[in-house]
């Protein structure tokens, strides 16, 4: 098992370097001259623009710029924002907890709703409960989040006054955005849990248990659910990236702090080092989370332990 983990770690590192190359490539084909954005286009002279380009290193060849960036990243230096010359990494680290809190609570909501609905729909397969549960889950993945977010604000903040409409101070401001985002995630988990529950129900060991006369409900919850949790967990690993990406929209709708907001602003301002930094940082988070998910399988499912 230790060996498996170290192999995973090694490939993760490779993937990380690949991600860096990819992000660097995408970000550096952004149109428009960053120098023109910093300078006032109505008064800047060509020399001023040329000087700034030189200063920003925009005149160096691509591979040189990448090499330089790579060396800096190894030392934990993600560069400085073009807009306000703040160092990128500390800024991301400062804003990440807010995004992490939102992503974590959203995942929790997604798992709770998703597993509940998934189990219900598997147990009551093809009955109304199944259909309603699946529809609720599907609604989650079928609605644009900025729309459902605004609807939640209008209902729960403006009309009912239960939760604040925006902000990132305290748990109460986390509720509406986390529900909006968690609802999306739950849609995927419902489907996953339902399918694996149905698979498990037909497994020989369940059939045997049933034949032995154990009550159906008991078997479902005790044995089938346990086995259905693994796919739910896998889904968390898969959707965590999408939930984090979802914060780009959600943090804007709910005026929350976080790295989603930072990248949205940075893309608009063509603040390349920041765009690069945030995407790369979220890739690291994605890799780490999936590593953890992989490792935690072995704890839940003995079979994986043996084969892994």
């Amino acid at each position: 098992m230790l060996k498996a983990v170290s192999v995973r770690l090694y490939t993760s590192l490779l993937v990380l370097v690949g991600t860096m190359v990819l992000v660097f490539c995408i970000v550096n084909v952004l149109p428009g001259d960053p120098a023109l954005l910093i300078l006032d286009p109505s008064s800047a002279t060509p020399e001023m623009i040329a000087n700034l380009r030189e200063q920003l290193g925009l005149n160096q060849p691509f591979y040189e710029r990448f090499g330089e960036y790579f060396l800096h990243v190894l030392q934990g230096d993600f560069g400085k924002s073009i807009v306000n010359s703040e160092p990128v990494l500390p800024k991301i680290v400062e804003h990440f907890p807010a995004t992490l809190a939102l992503t974590a609570l959203s995942s929790l909501i997604a798992v709770v709703i998703g597993v509940t609905l998934g189990v219900l729909s598997a147990i009551h397969r093809n009955r109304w409960i199944d259909i309603v549960a699946r529809m609720v889950g599907l609604f989650g993945i079928s609605m644009p989040t900025f729309w459902s977010g605004i609807l939640l604000i209008l209902i729960f903040s403006v009309q009912l006054g239960w939760f604040p409409a925006m902000g990132s101070d305290g748990f109460s401001t986390l509720v509406l955005p986390a529900i909006t985002l968690g609802f999306v995630g739950s849609g995927f988990i419902v489907r996953m849990v339902r399918n694996s529950m149905l698979e498990v129900i037909n497994e020989p060991f369940i059939v045997t248990l049933r034949a032995k006369g154990l009550p159906g409900r008991f078997i479902m919850y005790k044995h089938a659910l346990r086995n259905a949790l693994i796919p739910a967990l896998t889904m968390v690993g898969v959707i965590i990236g999408d939930l984090m990406a979802g914060t780009v929209v959600i943090e804007t709708v709910f005026s929350r702090q976080g790295i989603g907001r930072i990248i949205a602003d940075a893309i608009m301002a063509k603040d390349l080092p920041v765009v690069q930094g945030v995407i790369f940082f979220s890739a690291i988070v994605y890799i780490v989370v999936n590593l953890l998910v992989d490792i935690s399988y072995t704890l839940i499912d003995p079979r994986v332990r043996r084969t892994g």
Partner: protein, 560 residues
């Protein structure tokens, strides 16, 4: 606010003028305003448009939460370039003088001043009882430091640099007397000194923090900086020592409020929702459709202040055929129904613009109002005369070329400007003009660097009709072209005269002629005048606006 400065007009060199009026560069958000709730009013301090009974007496204490539509870029006045930043900067810093609605300049940190014969040096006597929030005494040295800081390239000053021109140097005469020297006379200088971007900063703090001064701003203002959580909020608290408010506010001493919390809420629906749900007490930039519903809301009130300067205007690019021809431009002028646009999109909450200048500015020509009326038949006839004949698909053609209009606008859709493009596209269709709308994030490249547009709209906040110079005067060789790519000797002459003319009556006549000429030659299509709006709980009392439309919080209190 009309902006005839009370000081005699002085001669002004063209080049400096051109630079000075880029102060709020095209693309600025409309921050300046006529501080009046009703259009055409003249009192400082807008009254809420709802008839709220406001007989309660000011209460000390309390917190005001105020939702901003965008995040300030800087809290260092010398480096900022955004109107939204000025709303916060005004609470932290003071300026040497203050401008009244109507343009008159009054004392603030300076008690009196004199201008030399040649108009090139200004001597200010300063208040002696002022100190910065960090305890640094306010004196002539501090003033010298602030002005020198703006022109120091190290500071990377933006709009402040344009405003301060033609400032050259300062001399400390004594502890409380300072002389500012200009490289050439400038009529606009004293008015500019009243602007928030030329605020006096604490020399100790600014020297110590350098680049990071924006994170720990220190001034002499009625509020002290507490914290700035990026993308979330900026908090300022009462400066208890404050005792030097200008005459534009009623409370000379420290403000009523203990704290102001500026929340940054870009999403419109969320911002309005947060004021309706009571999460914040006030929110700025209310969209027109919400203005109407908030006016009927028993718990809310609405403040509105019209901006001054150049209204939102569509500039026709004269370097692109066929728009270099008068008849083609006139066809656009007659074919675009501005009244319908303004009525449809702004639901009667914005005023239609008629001139290259907005009402309230010195020299505004009200006789232009109602002058241009849409006339599709006439427009068609003009295009016919130019030889553009309708093609098979209804689009006019000439020499095998289709009649297209490349309409460029910026993203995001600020003040519904993208929607104007959508309407213009439909309005010009019956004329046989195919409008290609390009919405781009990168206006800087498309419009300014590549000159790739037939029609592009913008506005500018300004307090003097000199603003026309940088937009309409022939540009110097080698410099970037003005927005309409215009070079008209007749207009050039008027704009030059307007800048140098000392007789106010004659100056006014010159600018009226210039405005008429611009409309007659169909250089532009003026669209609307932008009102700065604030939706607030009825508990919020005493909110006022300065001569440029920025909110003033000194007298604000929360009534219970």
């Amino acid at each position: 606010m009309s902006t005839a400065y009370s000081k005699p007009a002085v001669w002004m060199k063209m080049t400096s003028l051109a630079l000075a009026v880029t102060l709020v560069l095209v693309g600025c958000s409309g921050g300046a305003g006529k501080s009046s709730a009703t259009n055409g009013g003249s009192a400082a301090g807008a009254a809420p448009s709802t008839a709220a009974e406001q007989s309660s007496t000011p209460v000390a204490g309390g917190e005001l939460s105020y939702a901003l539509a965008t995040s300030p870029d800087q809290l260092d006045p010398h480096r900022s370039g955004l109107a939204v930043a000025v709303r916060v900067i005004r609470t932290l810093y003071d300026t040497l003088v203050v401008q009244l609605p109507g343009g008159e300049i009054k004392p603030w940190l300076a008690t009196e001043w004199s201008i030399s014969e040649d108009g090139k040096s200004y001597t200010f006597k300063l208040r002696q009882d002022v100190k910065f929030q960090d305890g640094t005494p306010f004196n002539a040295e501090a003033v010298k430091y602030s002005f020198d800081r703006i022109i120091d390239p190290e500071t990377k000053a933006a709009n402040a640099l344009a405003l301060v021109r033609p400032y050259e140097s300062s001399e400390v005469i004594d502890e409380y007397t300072v002389k500012l020297n200009l490289s050439e006379p400038s009529q606009a200088f004293l008015g500019n000194v009243s602007q928030a971007l030329l605020s006096i900063v604490s020399p100790t703090a600014a020297k110590k923090d350098g680049d990071q001064f924006t994170k720990h701003p220190i001034g002499t203002g009625p509020f002290k900086f507490v914290k700035w959580d990026e993308n979330s909020e900026i908090v300022v608290e009462k400066n208890p020592d404050y005792n030097w408010a200008p005459e534009t506010v009623s409370q000379q001493g420290a403000p009523n409020l203990d704290k102001i919390i500026f929340k940054i809420v870009p999403e419109e629906a969320t911002r309005i929702g947060s004021v309706q749900s009571g999460q914040v007490l006030a929110a700025e930039t209310v969209p027109p459709q919400n203005i109407l519903s908030l006016k009927n809301d028993a718990n809310s009130q609405l403040y509105q202040a019209n901006t001054v300067g150049l209204p939102y205007t569509l500039f026709i690019n004269h370097s692109k055929a066929p728009w270099n021809e008068l008849k083609a431009r006139q066809a656009l002028q007659l074919g675009i129904n501005v009244e319908a646009i303004v009525k449809t999109l702004y639901l009667g909450t914005y005023e239609q613009a008629w001139s290259p200048l907005s009402p309230g500015i010195f020299g505004y020509d009200a006789s232009l109002e109602g002058g241009v009326k849409p006339d599709i038949e006439k427009a068609k006839q003009l295009l016919d005369e130019l030889g553009w004949k309708a093609g098979a698909d209804g689009i006019r053609e000439k020499d095998g070329k289709k009649l297209t209009l490349h309409y460029v606008d910026g993203s995001p859709n600020r003040e519904k400007r993208n929607d104007i493009a959508a309407i213009v596209q439909q309005q010009l269709k019956p004329l046989g003009i195919q409008v290609d709308v390009e919405i781009t994030k990168d206006v800087a490249t498309v419009v300014y660097a590549n000159n790739n547009y037939d029609l592009y709209g913008n506005s500018q906040v300004n307090s003097d009709p000199n603003a026309l110079y940088s937009i309409y005067h022939t540009t110097a060789p080698g410099a970037r072209q003005n927005l309409p790519n215009l070079s008209d000797p007749e207009l050039d002459k008027l704009l030059e005269d307007g800048a140098t003319q000392q007789d106010q009556t004659k100056r006014e006549a010159i600018y009226k002629e210039a405005q008429q000429l611009i409309i007659k030659k169909a250089v532009i299509i003026p669209i609307y005048v932008f009102p700065y709006t604030v939706a607030a709980s009825k508990k919020v009392q005493g909110l006022a606006f300065d001569s440029l439309g920025y909110p003033i919080f000194n007298d604000v209190y929360i009534a219970e």
